[in-house]
């Protein structure tokens, strides 16, 4: 049995985090008021989302994955998962799905304690995860609302082909946009979409700058745990908004100041004062014990300098930016380019590159039971990156939102052993 986490002190928050919290609160206020205001809502997913397109129709996005992870951070998912399993869902499948279904069956109360509106549209726009398709088939039975399906092909050979792009653009033109027009009663306005896309690109520039600031020694950010907050707005309901542009500008200024002061990252417990280990992390975090998990790193002076989770909604550091001059093509390229849509060899190349470019001491995989899209093949990734980078790899296992699969003592032991291994392999340390 895992030891109970000790009572935590209030988490320290930067100004940008305070701004983000207010943005999120306003968004959920709008969602809660939707039945009265008549605002349309679309449930959709993080990787490959079409936020700019939704905003151009004044549709409010709801992201069930985000709700599930927020439920986990509020300690609600054990109950929600139990409800879903009681309704016949297998213990073997994705716990995001079960958490979402359990939440819905419990009144659909969102992370801010307000009721979420039922969807006017299930926008099955998804990248790199087969489970999403099943998820919305399940929700369709509950909500009896229209569904728009955008199938995004997999980059199996490590590249986007013209055939893939054409397929996605065709679906946008002939399926997704007409469905949005039908649900909202509005005509597609490409100029409006371009405005949102331009704002996306602006925010994306600043996000990339922030994430790449981890190349500094010491790193001013934690690019895994801390990055969860950084990527929140751009991967969810805010990409393409002035809110997002302002948030990322402020965040960039904050980080620039930290670099000037030679400071390490901020954690909920305070600053990391001495950076001992620089690691690249692959795989999503655990959300049920997020703060405890982060503390295990921070206590050791371990800082994540790059992560793949922070690319799950777009690998912007490879150069992609939303392009207002080619609105539908750029949406297609965005969908096709999200991290879990990359082939395994491409993922290995990327991780190896991160280890080198961010001067990491090693790389760590958090393999989550819920997400085969990330996890199937990670042991192969471990071996390959270790061989290519010459840096030690570590491997831990947990889950996204099922607390039954987070064994704190076990993970702590493994992490401590892993950091010791890094220490022993440092140049100049006698074996």
């Amino acid at each position: 049995m895992s030891p109970a986490p000790t009572a935590a002190a209030p988490a320290r928050k930067d100004d940008s985090q305070v701004r983000q919290k207010a943005m999120i609160a306003r968004h959920f206020d709008r969602l809660a008021a939707a039945p009265e205001t008549g605002a349309r809502t679309a449930y959709t997913f993080v990787p490959g989302n079409l936020t700019e397109l939704l905003l151009s129709f004044d549709v409010l996005p709801v992201l069930p994955e985000i709700n599930a992870l927020q439920s986990a951070m509020r300690g609600k998912t054990a109950e929600y998962i139990a409800i879903a399993e009681k309704h016949g869902h297998s213990e073997d499948v994705c716990t995001y799905v079960k958490s979402d279904i359990g939440m819905m069956k419990s009144g659909n109360i969102g992370p801010t304690g307000q009721r979420l509106p039922s969807p006017d549209l299930l926008l099955l726009s998804y990248t790199g995860c087969f489970t999403f398709m099943k998820w919305f088939e399940l929700l369709r039975e509950e909500y009896h609302c229209p569904v728009a399906m955008l199938h995004v092909p997999y980059q199996a050979d490590g590249r986007i082909t013209d055939a893939m792009r054409t397929y996605v653009v065709d679906q946008l033109k002939q399926v997704v946009i007409p469905k949005l027009e039908e649900v909202t009663g509005r005509k597609y306005d490409e100029d409006r979409l371009r405005e949102h896309l331009a704002r996306s690109a602006q925010a994306e520039d600043d996000l990339v700058w922030v994430l790449q600031s981890a190349k500094n020694v010491p790193s001013p950010i934690d690019a895994y745990f801390g990055a969860v907050y950084y990527v929140g707005p751009i991967f969810s309901a805010f990409r393409g908004t002035t809110d997002a542009v302002d948030y990322y500008r402020e965040l960039r200024e904050e980080i620039a100041e930290r670099i000037r002061q030679g400071k390490g990252p901020v954690t909920p417990e305070g600053e990391v004062e001495r950076e001992r280990f620089r690691v690249v992390v692959e795989g999503p975090p655990n959300w049920t014990s997020f703060r405890q998990f982060w503390k295990m790193f921070a206590d050791e002076g371990a800082v994540a300098v790059a992560s793949t989770y922070s690319k799950v909604g777009g690998v912007y550091d490879l150069g992609f930016r939303h392009d207002p001059d080619h609105p539908l093509e750029t949406l297609a390229d965005y969908c096709l380019g999200c991290y879990t849509n990359l082939s395994l060899p491409t993922r290995i190349d990327l991780l190896t590159r991160y280890v080198s470019e961010y001067r990491a001491d090693g790389f760590l995989i958090n393999s989550v039971k819920s997400c085969n899209s990330f996890s199937a093949g990670q042991l192969h990734i471990l071996r390959e990156v270790e061989a290519r980078s010459g840096r030690p790899g570590g491997f831990i296992e947990s889950d996204l939102v099922d607390p039954r699969y987070f064994s704190a003592a076990n993970i702590k032991n493994r992490l401590e052993s892993y950091f010791q291994m890094i220490e022993q392999k440092r140049p100049g340390v006698a074996s």
């Binding site: 309704h87 016949g88 073997d92 087969f130 092909p153 399926v175 993922r347 393999s367 996890s375 990670q378």
Partner: protein
């Protein structure tokens, strides 16, 4: 009355191929013909296209219970299904050395990622991820799928296969139409007289066909159909008629199928070795044959959990299959950790309940070795059906 020895011999020969994990038959075929052999994972690839280019399509279904998994387990965490482990094991132990390529259909995220692993582990073979569309509009998903088929044909030709021609493809479609027709007849016979076609036997015949050229599997199906139809030694027993759902990818051990039958169940419909039935009807042989293949997938494929069901009622196919097979109940029999099957199951259960069919559920792995619990569960289920039916 004893069984026709020709039937015994046919099933025995099929059993030899079923056990041929090292693909000796494929090696022999290659030595005989000089052609390419390309493997494919469940659940569907257009074998007609490969055949038209002179390529032997080889269906790979993972490992059997007696395959010791050592290397394969080192590649996967405990919560990943078993099929990719045995596939890796068989790849690394040289069993698949006869294959010039491997096609990975879009089944799930595990198989998708396995395609990338294969690229790295076996860089000398063709690896093709078969990304079937989930949009079924001919001008959208159909156009994408057609381009994928053309890419596959080109890749095969670059490896030494014959270039694809319309004439050859038409001939191949005709051959596979006949092949599928016979499988449909076998399934129909089993629905009518399940004692004539024990599923553990039919299954072995279907699996054997995965390693044979269509020119040989069609006569085998025809022979089996004729012999088993005529065999009067097979008499009906008091068994419950069940539909087995969920076993479309990782296959159950043969002993599990036998266990279900011994527990008092006639399996009158199933998802096993689905490639033989994935396209439900004949594919027309007139017009543009490549487009005919595309249209068949878009409009005439089974409602597999791996396909998005865009219209209609989810689970309607299960209700239809229950009606057509006169099944009295459903056994949801899925591999552990199989996302498509297990995520579909709540919706399939509701469909079974709409149809008034009782159901029970259990899981397996391809290397499961203990079936006592399943036997008791299935036996109790069969008993309850029989008792309830007689009430």
């Amino acid at each position: 009355m004893s069984e026709d020895p020709r039937l015994t011999a046919l099933v025995s020969a099929a059993g030899t191929l079923f056990r041929d994990q090292a693909l000796d038959a494929v090696r022999a075929w290659k030595a005989r013909t000089g052609g390419l052999a390309v493997g494919f994972l469940p659940i569907y690839v257009p074998r007609e296209l490969l055949h038209a280019q002179g390529v032997l399509p080889v269906g790979l279904m993972g490992g059997r219970p007696d395959l010791e998994i050592i290397k394969g387990d080192a590649y996967y965490q405990s919560y990943i299904c078993h099929l990719p482990r045995s596939t890796i094991e068989l790849g690394l132990n040289g069993s698949y050395a006869a294959l010039d390529g491997l096609i990975f259909p879009a089944i799930c995220d595990v198989i998708r990622n396995l395609s990338g692993m294969w690229q790295m582990l076996f860089p000398h073979v063709l690896v093709h991820y078969f990304d079937v569309p989930q949009n079924f509009d001919p001008g959208i998903g159909g156009a994408f799928y057609r381009r994928d088929l053309e890419a596959l044909a080109t890749a095969l030709a670059e490896r030494g296969a014959r270039p694809l021609t319309a004439e050859a493809l038409r001939e191949s479609i005709a051959l596979y139409n006949e092949n599928r027709r016979l499988v449909r007849e076998l399934y129909a016979l089993r629905r009518r007289e399940p004692w004539k076609v024990p599923t553990h036997e039919l299954y072995v015949v279907l699996r054997a066909a995965l390693l044979m050229p269509v020119e040989e599997s069609t006569p085998m199906f025809a022979g089996y159909l004729a012999l088993t139809s005529a065999d009067e030694s097979r008499r009906p027993q008091d068994q419950a008629r069940v539909l087995v759902a969920g076993s479309f990818c990782e296959q159950p051990p043969l002993a599990l199928i036998k266990t279900l039958e011994r527990s008092g169940c006639y399996i009158v419909d199933d998802d096993f070795v689905q490639v033989h039935r994935f396209i439900r009807s004949d594919i027309p042989v007139d017009g543009d044959p490549l487009q005919r293949l595309v249209d068949a997938l878009l409009t005439d494929a089974v409602a597999s959990p791996t396909r998005y069901i865009a219209g209609g009622v989810k689970g309607a196919d299960l209700e239809q299959r229950l009606a057509e097979s006169s099944a009295e109940g459903v056994l949801f029999c899925a591999p552990s950790f199989c996302d498509p099957a297990l995520l579909d199951q709540p919706m399939a259960v509701r469909a079974a309940e709409r149809a008034g069919a009782p159901w029970t559920a259990f899981k397996y792995a391809e290397n499961s070795g203990q079936f006592q619990v399943i036997r008791e569960q299935a036996g109790t289920f069969a008993d309850s059906i029989k008792l309830w039916s007689n009430a």
